[in-house]
Subunit: 317 residues, 2 copies
């Protein structure tokens, strides 16, 4: 499959700068991106999740190599829940060490989501939008764990790949956290380490198979890979690309993009309206008067807001 966005008018450097702005809650610079996104927006977005230690990084490197063989441009967005102060750079450093660093058609980046206004659900979709407009065909969104972040990310991606290692008890953790239910493709990595019939492998696979019958699952496949020697990676990529084709054919791709456009539209409106109206309210004398009453202990905050809104904005709280 050929790349659909051969013309790229945004440099890697500009993309990195735009994502940094988003991390810092600066959205004004996104005007051009928003103008282009509604026309473009071709990328297939893949969430990759799983507990630490299952070999996600190695697997992701292998996946990128496979996607590049298909002449697809790939972006990797690593969601970093650590703070921007203490740990934000660690994951970034790791990313920069990938073997694809010199490939012009591969972009890797970590985004710090903790301590930011709106957190993950505000930053990740904007970053995806930027990468999409940047002409990447495949966007991998990596999260490290099986928790709330993973559930949130699943709202913004087209398919979720859950990576586990058999016999490590990961499955139980994943089942408990609800990740199993949002996963579309299950990968058992480090397949070289275990043999069929041993190490509870059959039991594990059976356990998983039961999950594929769950009513919430529209689409679920099970893969065994060895990121170390590359076993199963080609088949996994074929499956992902099949999933993409199915997504486009069924109109699911378009539906998901429309949902996202509406979320973006509402959020721009909301921010503009709130900023404008709050600016007007705070400048008005009545605001200072009511605030003074609060600080003098005459009015509580709720009654004060009630009063201000009723008398000056003519609606009821």
């Amino acid at each position: 499959m050929e790349s659909e966005n051969n013309i790229v008018d945004i440099s890697k450097r500009d993309i990195a700068k735009l994502i940094s702005n988003v991390e810092n809650n600066k959205f004004d610079c996104l005007q051009d991106i928003r103008r282009q996104y509604f026309k473009k927006g071709h990328a297939f977005i893949i969430g990759i999740t799983g507990p630490p230690g299952v070999g996600k990084s190695t697997l992701i490197n292998r996946l990128i190599t496979e996607f590049r063989r298909e002449n697809l441009r790939v972006a990797l967005l690593a969601v970093d829940p650590s703070s921007n102060i203490t740990g934000g750079a660690i994951l970034g450093d790791r990313l920069r060490m990938t073997r694809h660093i010199l490939d012009e058609d591969v972009f890797t980046r970590s985004v710090a989501t903790r301590g930011h206004l709106g957190g993950l659900s505000k930053i990740v979709p904007e970053a995806i939008q930027i990468l999409d407009v940047g002409g990447y065909d495949i966007i991998l969104v990596e999260t490290i764990g099986v928790g709330q972040d993973e559930i949130e990310v699943s709202n913004f991606v087209h398919t979720v790949v859950l990576v586990l290692v058999p016999g490590m008890g990961d499955e139980i953790q994943a089942v408990k956290s609800g990740i199993m239910e949002i996963a579309n493709i299950l990968v058992f990595n480090k397949a070289d380490r275990f043999e069929i019939g041993k190490h509870n492998d059959e039991f594990t696979v059976m356990g998983i198979s039961n999950y594929s019958d769950a009513p919430k699952q529209k689409y679920k496949k099970l893969f065994k890979t060895s990121a170390k020697d590359g076993t199963g990676v080609k088949e996994l990529v074929e499956e992902i690309l099949n999933h993409r084709a199915l997504f486009v054919d069924t109109g699911e791709f378009k539906r998901k993009k429309n949902d996202q456009l509406r979320v973006f539209f509402d959020s721009i409106l909301k921010e503009a309206v709130t900023k404008k109206i709050m600016g007007l309210i705070i400048k008005d004398a009545s605001y200072s008067e009511v605030l003074a009453e609060i600080l003098q202990g005459k009015l509580d905050t709720y009654s004060a807001a009630e009063k201000l809104i009723k008398e000056h904005l003519f609606f009821e709280l």
Copy 2:
């Protein structure tokens, strides 16, 4: 010092329920709390932070015992950055095991902040407000780490106690993350484990002493405690209560409360206004028309918002 709020009209159970509501983004139930807070609001709020493994829990148990000896009612709010799905209950379980479980005048609770709209900065001040109205004289806000959460919490508390263990390299981590600068009281716990003059102790204390000269520091004291045998805990509590007296005397307490009242007032206004105006916009035919143009690929989200606002709300984006 005697408890200032002997009359308590909210049960522990009601407080727990109100905090749960806040965790679930339900703020309507806070009307009564807001009405009472501006009159009450007497609690002294102490942030307690430090890396895992420094013995914070044991120290907090000791602190609670000491505060109770002074006849002060104590609430412990543990900020839990783990998801509400995977780990929220773990910290909660630990809390419930404290020796103060049967004391009617001690309230302990963990709040899950991750994955919530607005996160920590929305939930923690509201929870503090509830506990304050609930009649607790001392509110301990525990965070587990030296990162962004700790910096955020420092905005809502009166004093920050940073707990470290000498020779563990914690200080360097704390310095790097900026926690040292926001700490008002430094505690070296596990003092029983080291002797003066050994284990780089003098060096460590010197390093810390230098920090107390930093211009940002208005108030900084250094304590050595042993949570295990109780050494130094009484002195630490005396210092905290001195800090409280100073805070009230200098008017800093009142100033901080006023700041918080304004934040609450603005946030009630903002929420009400946004809800109202967005409700009106979305119901209007022009919203659907412009949204349709986006979905048909005629308009991008930014231009669409610009158009809607200019034509219907008569201001410029």
